[in-house]
Amino acid sequence: MSKEELKAYLELTFPTCKFENSIDFPMLIVEKEHFFAIAKQLKEEPATNFDFLFCQTAVDYTTRFEVVYHLTSTQYRHDLVVKVLLEDRENPVTESVYSLWKAAELYENEIFDLFGIRFLNHPNLRRIMLGADWPGYPLRKDYSDEFILTPQS
């Protein structure tokens, strides 16, 4: 399906979700509670068949976190971006998609390590890059460390 057809189809199927546009892909913004069901439907529905998760990351807008999933279909070759908003900054938790796409295992480990977002039902959630005793989460916007040098200091 082309970008416009996909957007029309998704607007029919998920009337509660918001849409945004970017230069590259249509973007679907979902609430945290409905996310896993929507992701499962996107993967298993024969008309969309999003079976390839090619990027999963998180962005820290200072009042909220967003977990961003980039999906594509090897059959139809259409792409989609799904974003989940997490309002809780102290204890951000969301559902893992490891049972749908196995690629999520390493991506979610990295997000947990660098942002502190926990994923439920993950097989082995651990701080994969920095080690268990690193204080803080470096990629958050409020992270500070005396070790970082800047040209002004």
Binding site: G131, P138, Y143, D145, F147, I148, L149, T150, P151
Partner: protein
């Protein structure tokens, strides 16, 4: 061993005394032999973490062959290597590993810091939260080779500079000696 004053006066080599105050005799021709043997057969440890490792591999291959100068066998185990060429960035998680490898090497051992990242943190000096600012904060370095990455000829020049440094050093005096004042 007790040495009398008049014996030291006629001795043709150099004389050093250690911390106990007694004199160690040092015969310069044995020293020169030992230095020649050590500098011409330094065996490096294969330790490359990132891009400089590729230039190190290029130096090892046929065009810029480093085994002409004696670095014949690159050992993978630190127990059999004389020289560790730190090629690549060292991060905070890797620093204890590097220190452990250095401690496992037997004496005499030498260190070459290859590339800007090993010398001082390189392009990652500012704004990075994990890169160690220079490998000489962890282990003592003998030769620094700048470059990002340094050319194979630059690495060869650094290795020959290390050979020159070894040839001018004292082989058999281990602790810090003081030259006898006459």
């Amino acid at each position: 061993m007790g040495v009398t004053e008049d014996k030291m006066k006629d001795f043709p080599g150099e004389v050093y005394s250690d911390d106990t105050g007694k004199a160690n005799f040092m015969v310069t021709s044995i020293d020169k032999l030992a230095n020649w043997a050590r500098s011409n057969s330094l065996w490096p440890l294969t330790f490359g973490t990132s891009c400089c490792a590729i230039e190190m591999m290029s130096t090892a291959s046929a065009k810029y062959d480093w085994s002409r100068f004696g670095f014949e066998v690159a050992r993978a185990t630190p127990r059999q290597a004389d020289l560790i060429i730190v090629a690549g960035t060292i991060c905070k998680k890797m620093a204890p590993v590097l220190k452990r490898l250095y401690d496992q090497m037997p004496n005499p051992k030498y260190v070459i810091a290859m590339g800007a990242c090993a010398v001082s943190g390189g392009p990652f000096y500012y704004y990075s939260y994990t890169v160690v600012k220079g490998v000489d904060t962890i282990i003592p370095v003998d030769v620094y080779i700048p470059g990002c990455p340094p050319r194979p000829e630059a690495l060869l020049e650094g290795m020959i500079a290390l050979q020159t440094k070894i040839k001018k050093s004292r082989a058999y005096v281990v602790d810090s000696p003081k030259k006898e004042e006459k």
